[in-house]
């Protein structure tokens, strides 16, 4: 049949000539290829001793930031959840009571804040959407786990630990 697409090609299989049929030249060629690889530099990284540095704009696990006084920055505005293409973020907002000013920076805060790490695609849009600079994807990898429910990270895993700002050293990135 005539080919309509004009892309049909008959592959020609020539009979081997005597040089190819002796088979030895081909073996020698193969041997030379493998011996070249024998002396090549090995690209493998010996993992536990040698850790490949993350790239500067690596996006890892999220962390909810605190301000310079140790208060949570998030105001539960929901912009991150709205911007999230994977629908990974949910939260429950609550109003700050009197006497809680040292805990939350804004009058409204997230009582529950959950990210489903199985849904998240680490696009970083939540980070970009946040008006309060409260969320950053600056952690390392999200590690493996056994159960699906354990991949829903709550505030216990997301909010960064308290630190003393006076002890913090300026790092040049």
């Amino acid at each position: 049949m005539q080919s309509l697409s004009n892309r049909k090609r008959v592959i020609e299989q020539k009979p081997m000539n005597i040089w190819e049929r002796i088979y030895l030249p081909a073996i020698v060629k193969g041997l030379s290829i493998t011996i070249k690889h024998f002396f090549k530099k090995i690209p493998t990284i010996k993992y536990p001793e040698q850790i490949r540095p993350y790239s500067k704009n690596f996006r890892g696990q999220h962390s909810l930031k605190r301000d310079e006084m140790g208060r949570e920055r998030c105001t539960a505005c929901g912009l991150c959840a709205l911007s999230c293409p994977a629908e990974a973020i949910t939260m429950v907002a609550a109003e700050r009571k009197k006497g809680e000013e040292h805990l939350y920076r804004e009058e409204k805060y997230a009582a529950v804040y959950e990210i489903n790490m199985l849904r998240c695609i680490f696009c970083g849009l939540c980070e970009e959407a946040c008006p309060k600079e409260a969320i950053y994807l600056d952690g390392s990898h999200v590690t493996a786990d056994y159960l699906r429910k354990d991949f829903i990270y709550g505030k216990d895993k997301l909010v960064e630990p308290k630190f003393d700002i006076t002890q913090l050293k300026q790092e040049n990135k």
Binding site: I27, G30, I35, H37, K40, I42
Partner: protein, 345 residues
Amino acid sequence: MEVAFILEKLILVVIVFVITLVIAMYSTLAERKIAGFMQDRHGPDRAGIFGLLQPLCDGGKFFFKEEIIPAYAHKTLFVLGPVIAIITACITSAVIPWGQELTIGDRTVSLQVADVNIGVLYVFGVIALGVYGIMLGGWASNNKFALMGAIRAASQSISYEIGMGLSLIALLMVTGTLSVGEIVAQQSGFVNWNIWVQPLGFLIFITCAFAECNRVPFDLPECETELVGGYHTEYSSMKLGLYMFSEYINMFVSSALMASLYFGGYNFPFMYDLGLSSNWITIIGVIVFFLKIFGFIFFFMWIRWTLPRFRYDQLMNLGWKVLIPLAIANIVLTGVFSIIKDTYF
């Protein structure tokens, strides 16, 4: 026979045996390392520096694995299989001359366990026996894959033994002796090596040696892609370990054989021109011999990680239609050349 003689041979046997086992052990590591390097990997490097303890770990693992003898296997033969395989692998080395004579005090100690005057034939006999280990094991497992592997091993070894024997006949025509010790002694220096007079014979011999050792590209008896594990499908624990071990010992011994038959054994270039005492020549000779052996072992592995496995019909074609006619042509050529040499030079 005097006691000292027996003692001397006994010590030599033990030394050779230990060296054989150690080399076989470390061949397993070398194989994996070389495979790694040829595939741009590191190979095992966690057990000890450079992975040097890996063979010990592997051995230990083999011992602690569960021994399974399948319910419908023939028990005696099933156990006998690996035993025969390893014994035949070990006893081949008896006729290999590891070096010249050492003079200790007023005794001269020959570094060959037994200089049998039919050494080459002895090697052949033992190699032919070697396939029994595989055959018995494969047959006694009562498993169709193992049986297929065993049949393949048997027919492969028969086919390639002919080619090997014929290639050796040409060599024997040149050397005029069947004793391995004498064959090596004739090749002193560098220009007398048999490889220069028998290049084609060597090529046939090494191909057949690969086939006899069941090494890639001739490892059809244990071809994983078709036969699960081939003849050792049903084997577990140290019995499997013995099969693996006998493969590596075979490789070592056939490397030693090729080095001594074709590459001058312990002879090295200018050995008598350097003005060394005979003991030093012997010691350097032994080292040189082992270097040659390691070279061949490396070549075995190099080939393994380069070539794919043959199809079974290709294997048979190569054996019967290529190697045997070539070997016969080699005999004829050798005969013609030696007559020309005798009459005109």
